[in-house]
């Protein structure tokens, strides 16, 4: 079992570029920030390195950070431009019992993030959900399609903070 500091030290020595990996405290939790293009390399390393052995991805979360420029419309709704979307990875080693939270951010205008679906197969559906509801595009995912919303939903990604309901979907009234 390794502490957060030890894990961060190992990662930093392996990928020793300052701007790619850093730590960050969100409330009571420590998070390792990773530049999006590196995420697949880091994931593969975390899983295959015997002294780390992160064999399980507990959870993958997509988040709209709501940190871009806000323009309010007449009806009270707003649009966002710029800013970032984030992905949190909760990892765990079932053999060595340590846990880790990774975070990566991608720009809202081009939300492309490498997929880890081939490292942890369990992330397949989590990534599809993050794509479906937040709109993050996971590069290299074997089947990136909608999962909870209808396959023909063409009105955007509902968990975006500036999402607006359509009036009609296939002739059915949406707001109730």
């Amino acid at each position: 079992m390794k502490t957060f500091e030890e894990l961060f030290e190992i990662l930093k020595n392996k990928f020793n570029e300052e701007e790619d990996i850093s730590t960050h405290k969100e409330g009571n939790e420590d998070v390792i920030l990773i530049a999006a293009p590196k995420i697949n390399l880091v994931a593969t390393f975390l899983k295959n390195e015997p002294e780390l052995n992160f064999d399980s991805l507990i959870l993958l979360t997509g988040v709209d950070d709501e940190n871009g420029e806000k323009t309010t419309n007449e009806d009270g709704s707003f649009d966002l431009s710029g800013g970032t979307l984030s992905v949190y990875y909760h990892l765990e080693s079932t053999s060595l019992k340590h846990k880790l939270i990774l975070k990566t951010s991608v720009p809202r205008e081009n939300p492309v993030c490498p997929s880890v679906a081939l490292v942890w197969r369990g992330s397949d559906w989590h990534e599809r959900e993050a794509y479906d509801l937040i709109g993050i595009i996971f590069d290299g995912h074997p089947n990136l399609s909608r999962i909870l919303m209808p396959y023909d939903w063409e009105f955007g990604h509902p968990l975006r903070k500036d999402y607006k309901n359509p009036e009609f979907y296939n002739g059915m009234k949406v707001p109730y």
């Binding site: 969100e26 409330g27 009571n28 939790e29 998070v31 064999d55 399980s56 991805l57 507990i58 959870l59 979360t61 988040v63 709209d64 709501e66 949190y88 909760h90 079932t94 019992k97 939270i101 942890w120 197969r121 369990g122 397949d124 559906w125 509801l133 909608r146 999962i147 909870l148 919303m149 209808p150 509902p158 968990l159 999402y163």
Partner: protein, 377 residues
């Protein structure tokens, strides 16, 4: 057709849709099966028929308002859902919980585990053609629901466990009735074993079917009885103890391949039977040790956590249920993400269904014990 003698039977692969309205998919799940005769070549799950934007709703509600909504995710284990959610919020708030509340929560969660497993076992029997055990398990589950009704007035969706406490103290008769139930229920497990577990037909239907190897299970993030059925000793109550689970003695049963291969449908089924007995053990200890006290002492008037993230997880009857909450210091959460155990467990289904017969799909789905309410959210 030009020549009737030379024409052959069509042997193309066939696509068969199982569900969304199918009694064995345990809800509105559609499984798209690609078949080569009776054999499954490919099985794709299509979800979302019950999607109701739970996570989006959460962003518009205050923290306590969300509790009734989490009930409706895994509606067969509403108490456990509430427990996971309030733990995540309490982690952000950093409040001390009275000891009596912790005991009540554990008692409710363990009763809920037995109730949920009874549904799982009964319907699993139903799926594989055994009708009677279903009636027996539901008879006993009703008694647990009556205990819940005595506690909070509701039989299915409770809104009972609140941030910092519980909504009502236990009924004065609760402990006596609960102990009576435990005494009543122990022999019923033996009865169920005789009726279903060791039944030859049932074993034929479930042993060596849908074998889930432990490495694959961990790689997919499978948890709960489905993971333990593969022989992995992994239980959040032991690995990452929450509430007061570290105070009780209990074993973690794992699948050993008694009827066939380790990790088959029968193993997943049998782990649930053994787990009910362990839950009874925890209940006995908790009911004996429960202290007196005020259950609403720590309930905050206004739930307004600090900036930050928190992930809390509990061992739900179905597996690891986690809540990931991002707070930006307001009265409403910035983002709530749920890790539904059924969602993750179902994702491994297409992997283990390959090569089996159509009738085995029913057995495999039943052994994974999914609830679509939490898969679709």
């Amino acid at each position: 057709m030009t020549n009737i003698i030379e024409s052959k039977l069509k042997t193309d692969e066939m696509v068969l849709n199982m569900g969304p309205q199918h009694p064995s998919t345990h809800g509105v799940l559609r499984v798209e099966l690609k078949l080569d005769g009776e054999k499954i070549v490919k099985a794709d799950s299509h979800l979302g028929y019950l999607h109701r934007c739970f996570e989006k709703h959460c962003e518009a509600m205050t923290y306590p308002q969300i509790i009734p909504y989490v009930d409706r995710m895994d509606y067969l284990a509403a108490m456990s859902n509430e427990l996971g959610y309030v733990l995540a919020v309490e982690k952000l708030l950093k409040i001390e919980i009275p000891e009596r509340v912790e005991y009540i929560r554990v008692i409710m969660a363990e009763f809920q585990r037995i109730a949920s497993h009874l549904v799982a076992l009964g319907t699993f029997g139903l799926d594989t053609g055994a009708f009677t055990p279903f009636l027996y398990t539901f008879r006993d589950r009703e008694k647990i629901l009556t205990l819940f009704e005595l506690t909070c007035g509701a039989r299915l969706l409770y809104n009972y466990i609140w941030v910092g406490g519980v909504s009502h103290d236990l009924h004065p008769d609760f402990i006596r009735l609960a102990k009576e139930f435990i005494e009543y229920f122990r022999p019923k497990v033996v009865e169920l074993n005789e009726l279903l577990t060791y039944n030859k037909i049932f074993i034929e239907r479930t042993a060596n079917i849908g074998v889930l190897p432990p490495e694959l299970a961990i790689n997919y993030g499978v948890s709960g009885p489905s993971l333990r059925g593969s022989g992995v000793k992994w239980d959040i109550r032991r690995e990452d103890p929450y509430s007061i689970y570290d105070m009780f003695e209990f074993d973690i049963p794992v699948g050993e391949g008694l009827a066939g291969t380790t990790g088959d449908c029968w193993d997943r089924y049998y782990v649930r039977i053994l787990e009910m007995e362990q839950s009874l053990r925890i209940l006995e200890q908790a009911l004996d040790q429960i202290p007196e006290g005020d259950v609403s002492a720590a309930v905050p008037k206004r739930v307004k956590p600090i900036d930050g993230i928190s992930y809390a997880r509990v061992e739900n009857p179905k597996g690891e249920l986690g809540y990931f909450i991002i707070s930006k210091g307001g009265l409403q959460p910035f983002r709530v993400k749920v890790r539904p155990p059924s969602f993750v467990n179902l994702s491994v289904f297409s992997e283990i269904a390959k090569g089996h017969m159509v009738a085995d799909v029913v057995a495999i789905l039943g052994s994974l014990d999914i609830v679509l309410g939490e898969i679709d959210r």
